[in-house]
Symmetry: C2
Subunit: 311 residues, 2 copies
Amino acid sequence: MDLDTVRTFVAAAEAGQFQEAAAELAVTQQAVSKRIAALERALGVRLFTRTPRGAELTIDGQAFLPHARELLRTAERAVASVRTDRRPLRVDVINSRGAATGLMREFHRAHPEIELDVVMLLEIDTAVAAIRSGAIDASFRAVAAPGRPLPEDVEAVRVLDEPLQLLTGPAHALAGARSVTLAELAGHRIWMPGVVPGTEWTAYYDDLVAEFGLTIEATGPNFGSDALLDTIADTPALATFMSERTRLVWPAGHGLRRIPVTGPTPVYPHALLWRRDNPHPGLAALRAHLAGAAGGRDTAGTWMPDWVIPR
Amino acid sequence: MDLDTVRTFVAAAEAGQFQEAAAELAVTQQAVSKRIAALERALGVRLFTRTPRGAELTIDGQAFLPHARELLRTAERAVASVRTDRRPLRVDVINSRGAATGLMREFHRAHPEIELDVVMLLEIDTAVAAIRSGAIDASFRAVAAPGRPLPEDVEAVRVLDEPLQLLTGPAHALAGARSVTLAELAGHRIWMPGVVPGTEWTAYYDDLVAEFGLTIEATGPNFGSDALLDTIADTPALATFMSERTRLVWPAGHGLRRIPVTGPTPVYPHALLWRRDNPHPGLAALRAHLAGAAGGRDTAGTWMPDWVIPR
DNA sequence: CTAGGGCCACAACGATCGGTTGTGGTGGGG
DNA sequence: CCCCACCACAACCGATCGTTGTGGCCCTAG
């Protein structure tokens, strides 16, 4: 199907005749006639009843019309998403399981008029380069990079601290615990699929492992959240970390347990990075929104690496 | 833009290489290469970075991908809307101001999984013919037609009685009234634009006029609800009927007044018409929903024509 | 009743587009 | 170091799409 054909259909439906639609589209009436005929052949239904005074929609045509309009609107948005000037606000999030997507959804609810595009860049160097080049407008990251400072023109602000909980199946040794300390987790297998090597997630968990002697496996393909929950539920010797903010929806009977971790509570920090002179109006709104929604500055009893961006 | 091109883009993005995408789409690798190049030229951005081991998305490509998927889904829905088998439930409503659209929105909220298409057919003969032929699945109507019975295979059930109120501007002679009787409305100009001659709306208001000696004008083009409200607000000698269920949103300062009509209250009846042997699963759900949401069977102190479909 | 005008469909022709085959270039792995 | 896998470019060819020209239909005015 060709969008020009759909555009022709909408124009003809609005004009009520092919001739006028043809004039609007700067083609001949015969071209319009052929396009409509082709569309009707492709769909297998008649869209117009031709009269000597024009053409009016059949019932099928009436039903198709709003879908055709929606199709054109969608196409327009698709094209707009890659326009170099005035495109939607483009934000990089590190992965779909983290809190960043939640923040973005919240921002979208608060500002539905601001068009958004979400991308996932994995590597922080890629993200910083994209921010500097203007390919993206902002990125949710834990840090610039352990030990490496951010460039002059890139600013960063910590916007959310995400406390982690332990998630186990019903047969896990710690399933009955009211809470566990990080020291008690030593020796237990913690599984974090989807944590891509080379990202600051890795650095975070590497630090956690080094400091508390945990066993964290990032191996194995990431088949998505559902598969992860299934495996955790069925495997007694396996657990994973999950944000205490994450709202889980899983089938009853899995019996998954969320166990608070204390002494200290590992907290994953999220910062927003952007280029200082990026003029996108949506960026200012996003920063304002995140500044308002921050909260939770109490760091007592929590742990995070010492190389994170300060608040 | 051509949807085949978009499909090619999505296939290539999913496969990570042009070759595999080409195999999936049953074309040559060169064709995929040309399509992608053409799409990139049309959009003015590079969508893939070509490597000797495949092609991966640029940031622009990543941003474009969800829009491309959405475009294909929208196209699929558009095509499905005119499929002869298993198409969305197609319901005719008499116009967008009435209660029928509200009922449909409510039904959609209750059953978001049922795809809906709404059409407007105006003439009841057209609607009945469309119901019999299967072109539409159901129609909201006041009646079959004054004095004319419905065909054997078309069933009808009254689903909603819509009490009417008077709507006036602040300078109207009745603006201060707590309520008015139909008899008191004699001599006042009532304006009902958008009531199309030949529909059962006309028959309804004709009956109302004949019985209570009102002056109802259906003349003038219908410029939509906003224009109607503007005119009512500014014209002291003009009023209109409006459902008491209608939620109005108008700018402050208009000072519009809603005045209950009594002795008796005119009630506009809505019935659902459908073909007895129509097997569409959505139709059964719609009927069940409307049966549950009906209510308001008290007819004391109300008026409606005697030719309406009984409850 | 007829002539004319407005509108859509069909036919023939030409240009452009999109697909295929054939070939070259490039980077990673055995 | 060579080979393989993959993508891009070129030439060719058929299908498609738009144009011009024409005919038919119906409504309206004279």
